[in-house]
Amino acid sequence: METAFILYAAKEIQQAILTNENTLESLDRAIGDGDHYINMKRGANAIIGIEAELAQLSPEAALNKIGLKLLSTIGGASGPLLASFFISMAKQLPNNNNDHAHLKFVHAFAAGVQAIMQRGKADLGEKTMLDVLIPVSNQWLLLAQQNHDVAFICSSLITTAEQGMLATKDLIASKGRAAGLGERAIGHIDPGAKSCQLMITAVCNLILKS
């Protein structure tokens, strides 16, 4: 993975967030406090704002920088979670030197997801972003180990992310702001799950296009 790719991906993610203002805002208005879109936008814009600086860095340094920037920009619940994701990903990336590039990246992604689980003390089925991230991480590792081609993996992950996101609809939340809602959370997709699905889809589509 090259830094240039990270920057392309950041741009795609920014677009994915900005074009889904209504969706993200409505979801967080329904079972949260309505700021998830604003938070994600602030984060995405901040990363694009330091694009030139990031371009000078190694991939892991860039990812780490992204994490730190998100940490000091987003706030809320999503801020430290996404920040932990990128910081841990950056830390993991230089390891697993025996793996080929793709697998290294998969492991880094998994480390990022692990960091979110630890920071948020949450797991699958709690109606959070992890309901997208954990299935995607698992599925990706599986497909990569089976040596599927990148295009197949990307298409498959798009589906996994969407299924994970949709699955949050029927759940009661046990973490995050929606945890106070009990049964009333049922019927609403989790905003963080939606934004993660959007970001994953954006990056997968970017790879598919190139």
């Binding site: 700021d35 000091s72 809320g76 801020g79 430290p80 920071r119 046990s174």
Partner: protein, 334 residues
């Protein structure tokens, strides 16, 4: 949305600038990262730092000053601050006795303060406030929310810190006070987050949201609007039930502090009417309301609504509630 603002992105800095200019005798403002720092602080005491999303004014910056907070870290509206703010505030105010963070128990606040605490070079501890009994603790929840009772925790801990008590003692008092507080509120209207530009939730002219959060999060249930007696009776009952769950027996002649908190758009006239109802009900349960506070102390922007908070007192808490305090929003004894 009609608000006294210029650009939505500038609200926070403009409002903080106004606050720090109006109270230049008490505080000074730092930006990038943003924190408000107390002037004239002791050189050797546990430093008390709070913070959270903006939009709850006077919480927290309004409570900076003698006998209460040493610094506050304001996040964007309803969004927790980021760890760099807490680090900068801690480094600026540190006075050789460690830092105590007072954090309202929301996932965002908890995680951001947690990361700050992990990165902080010196001794620190955190008190999480969780007085909102609207969110019933169950297998489904990570925990209750911190709401208006936070002010009581900040007042008492701030008072103790002023006496030179150590970090452990301050943390212990904060946990104890928090444990003895329950709050329950109701919203008549939604709030409007400036950046969103429209009300956070829709509510009709004949409905109220029982147990609403201070960010306009949905509460226990949507209800038909009723007379004040009925609404406040439900709040008081929820609080009494919560004290039972907590195994805090409210015995005859127990002294308590009753706080009626407005969410921002409810007139003082109504808050005193609520106080009248709540005080009578608690008295009927044998509780001796010996301390009172009525006003907008923990708001939710422009939401109409109010919450009832009861804090069970003991001699120690009473002493620290009564002790002199000199902040922008709470002042007595000096």
């Amino acid at each position: 949305m009609k608000k006294f603002i210029n650009k939505v992105d500038d609200i926070l800095v403009e409002s903080l600038s106004g606050f720090s200019t109006a109270h230049a005798d008490l505080v000074s403002l730092h930006l990038d990262p943003a924190y408000i720092e107390r002037k004239n602080k002791a050189s050797n005491k546990v430093v008390i730092i709070s913070g959270g999303g903006s939009g709850h004014e006077p919480l927290h910056a309004g409570y900076i000053g003698y006998g209460m907070l040493d610094a506050a870290c304001p996040g964007h509206v309803f969004t927790s601050p980021t760890p760099d703010q807490m680090l900068a505030a801690a480094e600026a105010t540190h006075a050789n006795q460690g830092v105590l963070f007072i954090v309202k128990n929301y996932a965002g606040d908890v995680m951001n303060f947690e990361m700050a605490a992990e990165m902080l070079a010196f001794e620190n501890a955190t008190v999480y406030t969780s007085d909102d009994c609207a969110v019933v603790n169950s297998t489904y929840t990570t925990g209750r929310r911190g709401v208006a009772g936070t002010v009581i925790v900040e007042k008492c801990v701030g008072s103790l810190a002023e006496t030179g008590a150590n970090l452990h003692a301050c943390k212990a008092l904060g946990d104890k006070v928090n444990q003895r507080i329950s709050s329950m509120g109701a919203a008549l209207t939604s709030c409007t987050v400036p950046a969103a530009g429209r009300p956070t939730f829709d509510i009709s002219d004949t409905e109220i949201e029982m147990g609403v959060g201070i960010h306009g999060e949905p509460g226990r249930r949507r209800e038909v609007m009723r007379e004040a007696d009925a609404i406040i009776t439900d709040c008081v009952d929820a609080i009494l039930a919560d004290f039972q769950v907590k195994n805090l027996t409210l015995e005859k002649n127990n002294e308590a502090l009753l706080l009626i908190n407005g969410f921002g758009a409810t007139p003082l006239m109504e808050l005193y009417l609520i106080y009248n109802i709540a005080a009578k009900l608690f008295k009927q349960h044998g509780i001796n309301i010996s301390r009172s506070l009525v006003g907008n102390y923990t708001t939710a922007l422009d939401m109409a609504g109010a919450s009832v908070t009861l804090c069970l007192l003991d001699d120690e808490i009473k002493q620290h509630w009564d002790s002199p305090v000199h902040t922008a929003a709470l002042r007595w004894g000096c």
